[in-house]
Symmetry: C2
Subunit: 385 residues, 2 copies
């Protein structure tokens, strides 16, 4: 049995990770669970999986008291302590934002396998993550459907054979909205993703396609391919999750129904493919058609900004990611409009004075600066109106 | 430099093999060339590539005299002798019909790498081919675009992870012809393939989809997957060359423009992918759509017959293949109609008394019987009219 820690166990990816654990009995021993806000669900999970360690970022004392009351002998442990435990083999990093960064670095330095669903970790500090893996012999596996697809297409291939990575994008809920109507779209509309069920932050990022920019930056670090050789392809159906083009002109693609349990399971069971959760098969004969198209950069200025931040490197991607987190919160709260997100990011990026090859402290400093600056942008905008 | 023998060097696959050799200078030394009818092209090839050994199945004496006149010091050698030479590493078997069978067996028994484009070899004697490879340590690599696609999708995968193989089929020139009009189609129409440029026999087999049945039988031997787990999927564009479905619900597909030089090159350079011939990239954004559909078995009775022959095994696939060769010749010569091919095959198969696990002699005997019986069917039909 593999010892598993799930960070962010009550979120969408965390819950589906535990579904995989349930579907493969005898395969994983849940050693630690950590979550943010949803204490009642965390309590349920602890009762079911009986982890040795537990952590909640808010109101932990209250939960801890209740668990003791239930007679559950689990110890309180900070994520960075959890992931380094000798009885841990696998760590699912399913947190959001910067929360996953430090535990990922510790897990890799301790030689663990890290299944990484927290996009911002590689975006903020790709060079530090790779260095940690190199130092400690840890292994990084992708969980995002796009990166899992590329990973699968690269099995058995030589690095020098890769010509390009092609990430597919559904285009989000506004892919067909006339450009002039985008000024009026609401948070509720942005949360209606056409093909995937995901958390609100990721769903809004899929509407701006900033998400895809972050994924390109992630891919750069996951697969050691420069951004210049990473393309984005519009694909409405979210069946082809990404492709790899090889230098002989051959392409490989990975296809499946849009169900995150598949890449989650693969990250946990690799090199084995398990039936496990029983994801339904894609029936191409019935589906009939797959559509592809170029990305219209006028519709998705956030994607251009993200790719530009990725090309500049250093602290720019961390600044982009932090400013976007703030922008999306304000958009969901109704403080700014959908079309304000790109100008906000552009201004924050333009004002940032980047540091190349930053230390973790410098990354976190840039992150804090970007958040404050983005908040200020929103307040200034409110004053102007 | 790898020593290369090309059997069937003047046919479509043979000529493209030599294009690959030209595009990768210093990589291959052409040790032997063998061809059937096109003596003038064979002579040109000998002058260009200076093989140590040469063979022509017809009028060889005449060619041999001319080559000596030109001062070319190449020796006459039968294909079975050629492929066993110690200076040969790779054998491209690009012959058609039963011609490639014996040299393939000898090459595999001599531990060579065999790039197999001659469909009938595995169809007629898959069990003998696998046994020969096992005995001599030879390696079999696919050249057909479908099998090459599956091969590429299987790299880095475990055999037990494979759920199904899915071979794509363009549907041939009559995929949209009303069923009632098929009775009138001509040989010239059958030779107009919508996506691939190939020899006449293969092109007619693509119109009946018998071709796809033979490929399913080949796939069964190439990849050790039973026919029950091999599907055929209609795909008009011939961009997705085939797919593999894994037991976790993930599919991998290989895509490229329809250009045989790509799988030929890969079979010769594996595990390397070379730029070599410079096959153009697939531009999915520009292509816009890929279409898939189920195969209508009423339109393609030859496919059902082939799959049935494959399931019965033993000498049945050899009988099917031989009878089809005769049927296609008669169709191209105007002796029978397009819709006569399936009833001919059905009758010959029904009359055959199969042998299971046949020896090479028994396979060749069944082949000869089927040819005679098919000829007889055509004569009987002429008498009836």
């Amino acid at each position: 049995m593999k010892g598993l820690v799930v960070l962010g166990s009550t979120g969408s990816i965390g819950r589906q990770t535990l579904e995989v654990v349930r579907a493969l009995p005898g395969r994983f021993r849940v050693v630690g669970l950590a979550a943010g806000n949803n204490l009642s669900l965390l309590e349920e999970q602890v009762c079911e999986f009986r982890p040795r360690m537990v952590y909640a970022s808010r109101e932990g004392d209250q939960l801890y008291a209740r668990l003791r009351g239930l007679g559950l002998a689990c110890r309180w442990a900070h994520p960075e302590e959890m992931v380094a435990s000798p009885d841990v083999d696998l760590v699912m990093v399913a947190t959001v934002g910067r929360a996953g960064l430090a535990p990922t670095l510790v897990a890799l330095r301790s030689g663990k396998v890290v299944a990484l669903a927290n996009k911002e970790v590689l975006v903020m500090a790709g060079h530090l993550v790779r260095e940690a893996a190199r130092q400690g012999g840890g292994e990084l596996r992708p969980v995002d459907s796009e990166h899992s697809a590329i990973w699968q297409c690269l099995w058995g291939e030589r690095p020098e054979a890769v010509a390009r990575l092609v990430l597919t994008a559904s285009g989000g809920p506004f892919r067909d909205t006339p450009l002039e109507d985008l000024v009026r779209v609401t948070a509720a509309e942005a949360l209606r993703h056409p093909t995937w069920q995901m958390g609100p932050k990721v769903t809004v990022d899929s509407a701006t396609l900033l998400n895809k920019g972050l994924e390109c930056i992630e891919a750069r670090w996951f697969f050691d391919v420069p951004l210049e050789r990473i393309d984005v392809l519009l694909h409405r159906e979210s069946i082809v999750h990404s492709l790899v083009e090889f230098r002989d002109g051959s392409l490989k693609a990975q296809l499946s129904v849009p169900d995150m349990r598949l890449p989650i399971q693969l990250a946990l069971t690799y090199p084995e493919r398990a039936e496990g959760v029983g994801v339904p098969r894609v029936d191409l004969a019935r589906l009939g058609e797959l559509h592809f198209g170029p990305v219209d950069m006028r519709r998705y200025p956030c994607l251009s900004l993200a790719l530009e931040a990725g090309r500049r490197g250093g602290t720019y991607p961390a600044v982009l990611s932090a400013a976007d987190e703030v922008a999306v919160q304000h958009f969901l709260a109704g403080h700014i409009r959908f079309l304000d997100i790109a100008p906000l990011l552009e201004e924050v990026l333009a004002e940032h004075r980047g540091v190349s090859l930053p230390t973790l402290d410098e990354v976190l400093e840039a992150d804090a600066w970007a958040r404050a600056r983005a908040d200020e942008w929103v307040r200034a905008r409110a004053r102007r109106l």
